[in-house]
C-alpha cells in the first residue's frame, strides 16, 4: 500500500499462500507484547524474515473519551484530557484550553502564558527522554538507557508534583490561565533541573550517537519520504525527520512562542536514526526555550479575572485549537450549542495519524525492525484509541 497511489487503497490485499518457493507465515504481534507500547496489535505476514503485509488492529484501549466528554461540563473534560496521552498530560491540557479559549474569546494573562510554556517544554523534555529510552529498550539495549532516561524523567515529574500535586495526571491548565501559581523555591528547583539536563544529553550522545550497533540497526530502516509524510498528514518530530519544516510553534506562534528564539531541527533521510537524533536535538532547543522563559517570567495574575470557570456556557459556535505537542499536532475541535457541555468533542490525535504510514515503513523490512519502527513513531495507545 502506498499513500501516493490514485487507485483505491486495498488495506488487506489477499496474498497467495500456496507459492512454490515457500509458505507465508502469519504472526500476530500483540496485544500483549512487550514492545508494542501498550495494547496494540499487528497482524504481520512474513516471507521468511521479510514483512510482506502488515495490518494494524486498534481499539484495545478505546475508552469512549469523546462520548464521555459530551456529557461532561467544559471544566469536567479537563481531567479526561490528561488521560489521552498519559505521558504528556500538560500539553493535552494546553491544547484543550486553547480550543475553549478560541471558542469563548478568552484572553490569558502574561504570567500564565509563560507558565504554560515552561510546563509544556518540561513535558516535551520528559516525553522525548522517555521515548529515546524505550527505543533503545526495543533495540535490545535492555535496561541501561531506559534507566538513564527515567532518572531524568523522575526529576521533571518531581517538579510537576510540587507544582500540580500529581506526577502524571497534572490537570494544570484552566481556560483563562493556570490552576495554581508556582510554590516558593520551585523556580530555583526547575532551574537546577534545566541546567543539569544538557549533561544528560551529552552523556547519552557520547554513549549512543555513534554506536555501531545503533547505526546498523536504525540507518536506512523505516524510511518515510518527504512526499509521503505530507500526503499522509503526519506531523511533529516524525514529519520533521523527513525534512518537512512544519512546527506549529513557528507556524501558528500560539501563546507567546514568537518571543523566543529557537531553531527547528530537520532530518534528511526520514529513517529511524533521523527520528531518534531529531528528538535529542529538540530536547536541546527546548532547554533554550526554557532558559529564556525562566529569565523573562513576569509577575502578575495567573487567571483571567473575567472568566467564570464553573457554570461555563460559551456561545453557540465551533472552534479548533491546536498546539505542537511532543508527538505532533494535537488538536481539539469543539462544537458548542450554548449548553454547559460540548455538543461535539473531537480530538485530532498525532499518534494515530503518524501511525498511518506504519505498513509503508515496514514492508520489505525484517521482522525485528517492526519493533524499532513502531518505537520511533512514538505512540501512546491512550491517544491512538481514545
Amino acid at each position: 500500500m502506498s499513500v501516493l497511489t490514485d487507485t483505491p487503497i486495498d488495506l488487506t490485499p489477499d496474498l497467495p499462500n500456496d507459492r512454490s518457493e515457500g509458505q507465508l507465515l502469519e504472526v500476530s504481534m500483540g496485544p500483549q507484547h512487550p514492545s508494542t507500547h501498550g495494547v496494540f496489535r499487528m497482524d504481520v505476514t512474513l516471507d521468511g524474515e521479510k514483512v510482506v503485509k502488515l495490518k494494524p488492529v486498534f481499539g484495545y484501549l478505546h475508552r469512549n473519551h469523546e462520548k464521555i466528554a459530551e456529557n461532561e461540563s467544559y471544566l469536567g473534560c479537563m481531567p479526561y484530557t490528561d488521560r489521552l496521552d498519559y505521558i504528556c498530560s500538560i500539553t493535552n491540557n494546553w491544547a484543550y484550553a486553547l480550543a475553549v479559549e478560541t471558542l469563548a474569546g478568552i484572553q490569558v494573562p502574561e504570567r500564565a502564558e509563560y507558565l504554560r510554556v515552561i510546563t509544556g517544554e518540561l513535558t516535551r523534555l520528559q516525553n522525548h527522554a522517555g521515548l529515546v529510552g524505550f527505543l533503545m529498550q526495543d533495540m535490545g539495549a535492555s535496561g541501561t538507557p531506559l534507566m538513564y532516561a527515567f532518572r531524568e524523567r523522575e526529576k521533571v515529574l518531581d517538579l510537576f508534583e510540587a507544582l500540580t500535586g500529581a506526577r502524571m495526571m497534572c490537570n494544570y491548565m484552566r481556560f483563562g490561565g493556570c490552576r495554581v501559581d508556582v510554590p516558593s523555591g520551585w523556580l530555583q528547583a526547575a532551574q537546577k533541573v534545566i541546567d543539569g539536563f544538557p549533561k544528560f544529553l551529552d552523556e547519552f550522545e557520547s554513549l549512543l550517537m555513534s554506536n555501531e550497533i545503533l547505526m546498523a540497526r536504525t540507518q536506512g530502516v523505516g524510511v518515510v519520504t518527504r512526499e509521503q509524510a505530507i500526503n499522509a498528514g503526519i506531523s511533529g518530530p516524525m514529519a520533521r525527520a523527513s525534512g518537512v519544516n512544519y512546527d506549529l510553534r513557528k507556524v501558528d506562534k500560539y501563546g507567546i512562542y514568537d518571543r523566543f528564539s529557537f531553531r527547528v531541527p530537520l532530518g534528511e533521510h526520514g529513517d529511524v536514526y533521523d527520528r531518534y537524533m531529531l528528538r535529542v536535538l529538540e530536547m536541546r532547543e527546548s532547554i533554550e526555550i526554557l532558559k529564556q522563559a525562566m529569565r523573562d517570567l513576569p509577575a502578575g495574575p495567573i487567571m483571567d479575572p473575567n472568566t467564570k470557570i464553573r457554570g461555563f456556557r460559551p456561545k453557540a459556535g465551533e472552534a479548533y485549537g491546536r498546539i505542537e505537542g511532543p508527538k505532533g499536532e494535537l488538536g481539539f475541535y469543539l462544537i458548542s450549542d450554548g449548553s454547559p457541555n460540548p455538543y461535539r468533542f473531537r480530538v485530532r490525535p498525532p499518534s494515530l495519524i503518524n501511525l498511518t504510514l506504519l505498513e509503508d515503513m515496514c514492508l520489505g523490512q525484517n521482522v525485528a525492525d517492526i519493533v524499532i519502527i513502531l518505537g520511533s513513531v512514538d505512540i501512546v495507545l491512550g491517544e491512538v484509541d481514545r
Binding site: P31, H62, I68, M147, M168
Partner: protein, 213 residues
C-alpha cells in the same frame, strides 16, 4: 517450637523452620510479574522497576513477557471490553500458584471511564484479585506496598487443611471462563463464581419510622 527458642537457635546459627514457612518464603521472595501493561498505570509500573524505586529490592524485578513463566499479573490500566477476553486468557495461561494485583481505579471499577460503553467495570468480575491499589494512577510506592501486602498474604497461607489456597486444592478451578463478544455486551457479563454483585441496602426516604434514612 515456640518463637523464643527459635530466635535463640537462630542466634546460634541454627535455623529451625517448618516446611510451610520454607515453602511460603521461597514463593513470596521471587514473584515474577507478567510484563503486561494496559494504560496509564503501566508507566508507573515501569517507573517502579526503574532506578529510583527499584522493585528488585523485593525480589520482583524479573518481568516475564510470557505468561507461562510468570506467577503474578499486574492489571495496570483500563480493561476495555475488547481487551477483557485477552486478559482472562493470559491469566488462564499462567501456571499455578498465580496472583493478581489490580492496579488503579480503572482496573478496580472502571474508574473515571466507568460510564463508557466499552469499559469493563472491574477486572474482578472475571478473575480473582488478591490486592487492590486505588489511585489514578497509583504512585510507585503504592505498587511496592501492594507487593509487600501480597508477600504477607502468601506468608500466611496454609499447606494443608480446609483453608489451603486454591492451587493446593484439586477441586478448585485454576482456569476461568473467557468471555466472548455477544450482541450487546460480553457473554457472560461476569463470572458468578468469582464476583458477587455488592448488596446495597437502600431505605426509601419517609418510610423509616425514625425519620432518618
Amino acid at each position: 517450637m515456640d518463637e523464643q527458642l527459635k530466635s535463640e537457635l537462630r542466634r546460634q546459627g541454627v535455623v529451625a523452620t517448618s516446611l510451610q514457612e520454607l515453602y511460603n518464603w521461597g514463593r513470596r521472595s521471587s514473584l515474577w510479574p507478567l510484563n503486561f501493561g494496559l494504560a496509564c498505570c503501566a508507566i508507573e509500573m515501569i517507573a517502579a522497576t526503574m532506578a529510583r524505586y527499584d522493585l528488585a529490592r523485593f525480589g520482583a524485578e524479573v518481568f516475564r513477557p510470557s505468561p507461562r513463566q510468570a506467577d503474578l499479573m499486574i492489571v495496570a490500566g483500563t480493561v476495555t471490553k475488547k481487551m477483557a477476553p485477552q486478559v482472562v486468557r493470559l491469566y488462564n495461561q499462567m501456571p499455578e500458584p498465580k496472583y493478581v494485583i489490580s492496579m488503579g481505579a480503572c482496573a478496580i471499577s472502571g474508574g473515571p471511564f466507568k460510564q463508557g460503553y466499552n469499559v469493563l467495570k472491574g477486572i474482578d468480575r472475571y478473575i480473582p484479585v488478591d490486592v487492590y491499589i486505588p489511585g489514578c494512577p497509583p504512585r510507585p510506592e503504592a505498587l511496592i506496598d501492594a507487593f509487600l501486602m501480597l508477600q504477607k498474604k502468601i506468608d500466611e497461607q496454609y499447606l494443608t487443611g480446609p483453608n489451603r489456597p486454591r492451587h493446593l486444592n484439586a477441586d478448585m478451578p485454576s482456569e476461568f471462563v473467557v468471555p466472548e463478544f455477544g450482541t450487546h455486551d460480553l457473554v457472560p457479563t461476569q463470572n458468578s463464581e468469582v464476583w458477587k454483585a455488592p448488596l446495597v441496602n437502600i431505605s426509601i426516604a419517609g418510610k423509616n419510622e425514625s425519620g432518618r434514612d
